[in-house]
């Protein structure tokens, strides 16, 4: 009888042991996604490169230390094409089929809003590098971000346009089919009006992937006689808007948000984007050792200068790797708790401490296009903003 019981225990222990034992080569699978094709392909290519660089560097020093053992990181990458439908499909694949421990990405708000609920439902933590709409992390407590939110970005843009450029009448143009551009345009308007400026035209178009003719809206903006145009869209649309505004003799300065950060802004827009200003996550001129080391490593591997999307992607990977090691086990809820406890972590995306809504507080930079290149103008922290527009 006793022997029988013993045998049962031994078998149970052996079965449990085999199940609990990690795979022969200790490996942790991390999923990532970004748009490497479509209308914002330069964002995705930079981010994919950054993820691969971060993983390569972590693996070269032994990978991640979890539960006293070294785990090699296996990175899976999916192209989400800047489409919520594709994003949801690849998120399900990464979670259900590949059983990833966590997700890096996606890149843009509208895809984040589709992927977030899936990650939340399956208790898979995700860190998005560059989704900026406040709604993104409100989806649930498994969704974190490495960038600032658009209430802040819109306020920084408005303050810069009002205070530094001295403009008082803004024409705003945005895509009403995209939560990011719609949100940013709205927050810009709120802040600009609180400062005492006037939004004389608030025009929208539908679907930046289909729209190539912005003149119907620009004619209306022109007749409202603004002294600045703020457009919250991505670089492709922004370049066409700049070109067409110039064509119709609407020669006022242009400003926008982090969606402008791409070499293609100048490639498509040419001379018409000269003198344009935009808010961004980072500037290549940032002297901090984290950023400069990253730029050096990225250049060495890809022979290209990383944009803010790449830098944020690298930062998101740093945040996630740090949290996994602190969680000390490969388990969604544990990693989530560790992520939420991130405090004062120095990354390429800045010094990260998450607030109650899983957003870090970090400064924005303002860049100008000068002679076809991005030029650093200034850095703006939340504390630099007047109290009435501080988010």
């Amino acid at each position: 009888m006793i022997a029988g019981k013993m045998t049962a225990w031994v078998i149970a222990a052996a079965v449990f042991g085999a199940w609990a034992m990690p795979a022969a080569s200790d490996e942790i699978t991390i999923g990532s996604m970004a748009p490497t094709t479509g209308n914002v392909a330069t964002f995705g290519v930079g981010q994919r490169n950054a993820y691969q660089l971060a993983v390569e560097q972590a693996n070269s020093v032994g990978g991640l230390k979890i539960g006293g053992r070294q785990y090699t990181i296996k990175l899976l990458f999916e192209d989400e094409q800047n489409s919520p439908e594709v994003g949801a499909t690849v998120a399900r694949k990464l979670i259900n089929q590949d059983k990833v421990a966590a997700i890096l990405g996606p890149t843009n708000t509208k895809v984040c809003l589709a992927v977030g609920p899936i990650a939340q439902e399956n208790k898979v933590p995700m860190v998005t590098p560059t989704c900026t709409n406040p709604k993104v992390t409100l989806v649930g407590d498994y969704v974190f971000r490495a960038g600032f939110i658009d209430t802040f970005q819109g306020a920084v843009g408005a303050y810069f346009v009002y205070q530094t450029l001295g403009k008082r009448k803004a024409g705003v143009l945005f895509d009403n089919g995209n939560d990011y551009t719609k949100g940013l345009a709205t927050y810009f308007r709120q802040a600009f009006e609180k400062l005492g400026g006037k939004v004389v035209a608030f025009e929208s178009f539908t679907d930046e992937e289909k729209t190539v003719d912005f003149r119907p809206q620009l004619i209306r903006i022109k007749s409202a006689a603004p002294d600045v145009i703020y457009t919250s869209d991505y670089y492709g649309a922004a370049a066409l808007i700049a070109k067409q505004a110039q064509e119709m003799g609407l020669k006022v300065p242009l400003a926008g948000g982090d969606g402008f950060d791409s070499p293609d802004l100048v490639r498509i827009g040419g001379a018409s984007v000269e003198g344009l200003h935009f808010t961004n996550f980072y500037s290549q001129d940032d002297p901090s050792p984290e950023v400069q080391d990253f730029i050096r490593a990225y250049r060495a591997k890809y022979n290209d200068t990383p944009d803010a999307y790449a830098a944020q992607g690298y930062g998101a990977a740093q945040i996630l790797f740090d949290a996994i090691q602190r969680a000390d086990k490969i388990d969604g809820p544990a990693i989530r708790v560790a992520l939420a406890g991130t405090k004062g972590l120095k990354t390429v995306a800045g010094e990260i401490t998450f607030d109650a809504n899983r957003n870090p507080t970090k400064p924005a930079v303002i860049l100008e296009i000068k002679d076809g290149k991005q030029k650093f103008v200034k850095r703006v922290s939340p504390a630099d903003l007047p109290a009435e527009i501080r988010p």
């Binding site: 539908t206 289909k210 003719d213 119907p216 004619i219 007749s223 064509e247």
Partner: protein
């Protein structure tokens, strides 16, 4: 002829009604947004309409002759635009106008070839089958073209990787030097003039071709009765192939104009929306009717531009609302009844 008299009286009264509604809309727009804005939107709308008109011609010709709605025509337009883009970029070194003429010639020739191949492979074998079969293949061809050309070149094996365009947007080379001419608050560019002149010129050429050449005569005969034409010794297969070639070449010219006007080709899916607008334009003008397609194209371009300027969400809806209203009162389109003769 009481019946004829009645028909033309009701046609006249509907024309008067449409005219009145149109005038009211113009009056409202001018009083709301100003005369200069109205004129500028109209000019831009006609420019967009020129692009639609040339695509609509292809729809209308093919329908007129084989009673097939060629759903792949928007993608043929897309193909023409890409060919013009690559040809133009390659020829840019030898001067602006050389590049323009070269690009349009190469694009029209290659796209005509594509049209003929599509007809030979996908439509001719089904000509004696129920019309629905060919309609389904047309959709299949459309999806095939969009998705094939969207493949990233790096994922496609050797000879094919030079054929695909990839999923990302590309810039269209500036083939002509764009000049600006302002008239007070309104301006016109070289591109406005070029688009408009090209659309009208190609329409007139097509008209002359159909009315005054032997091939054109054969086309009209085939459109009238395929069996009758056969009995008269007309090579029906050849005539239909020529129709596809001419329609596709016009689509390519339109693609070149689109690329030059907006400076960017978004992805191999970009032909869908202009294709849809042009299809509506062809139905609106009376499908099978050549001046009707051009009129429909201008109407679509202008209404889309005005609707977008009022609210961008209206743009996608307006064309369908116009289509429904016109079809309710004039089922054969604006010019469909007045001129019975088809292509």
């Amino acid at each position: 002829m009481p019946l004829f008299g009645q028909a033309s009286r009701s046609a006249a009264s509907w024309s008067i009604l449409f005219g009145l509604v149109g005038l009211l809309s113009v009056w409202w727009y001018v009083s709301e947004f100003g005369g200069a804005a109205f004129l500028q939107q109209l000019i831009n709308g006609l420019q967009r309409g020129s692009i639609y008109a040339l695509i609509a011609l292809g729809f209308t010709m093919v329908y007129g002759i084989v009673k097939l709605i060629n759903f792949a025509h928007g993608d043929i337009f897309m193909f023409g635009a890409y060919v013009a883009c690559f040809a133009g970029a390659a020829l840019l070194g030898s001067g602006h106008w050389v590049a323009f003429v070269g690009a349009i010639a190469i694009a029209m020739a290659l796209t005509a070839l594509l049209g003929v191949v599509i007809e030979r492979v996908a439509y001719r074998p089904l000509r004696d089958r129920p019309r629905f079969s060919a309609l389904t293949t047309a959709m299949g061809v459309s999806l095939l073209l969009e998705n094939f050309f969207s493949l990233p070149p790096s994922t496609v094996p050797f000879p094919l990787n030079h054929l695909v365009f990839g999923p990302n947007y590309i810039s269209f080379p500036a083939l002509v030097e764009v000049e600006y001419y302002s008239f007070g608050a309104v301006y016109v560019t070289t591109m406005h003039i070029l688009d408009f002149v090209l659309a009208i010129a190609l329409m007139v050429l097509l008209h002359v071709f159909i009315k005054h050449t032997i091939t054109g005569k054969a086309m009209r005969a085939v459109a009238f009765s395929m069996d009758g034409a056969k009995l008269m010794g007309i090579n029906v297969d050849r005539t239909i192939a020529i129709t596809f070639a001419v329609g596709s070449a016009l689509g390519a010219a339109s693609g070149l104009m689109y690329g030059m006007t907006y400076g960017i080709l978004a992805s191999p899916y970009f032909g869908i929306f202009p294709g849809l607008q042009a299809f509506i334009a062809a139905v609106l003008g009376g499908i099978g009717n050549i001046p009707g397609a051009v009129l429909g194209g201008f109407l679509m371009g202008a209404s889309e531009t005005f609707a977008t300027s009022i609210d961008s969400n209206l743009a996608y809806m307006t064309s369908f609302v116009i289509l429904i209203i016109v079809l309710l009162f004039r089922p054969s389109g604006l010019l469909g009844k007045l001129q019975r003769e088809k292509v």
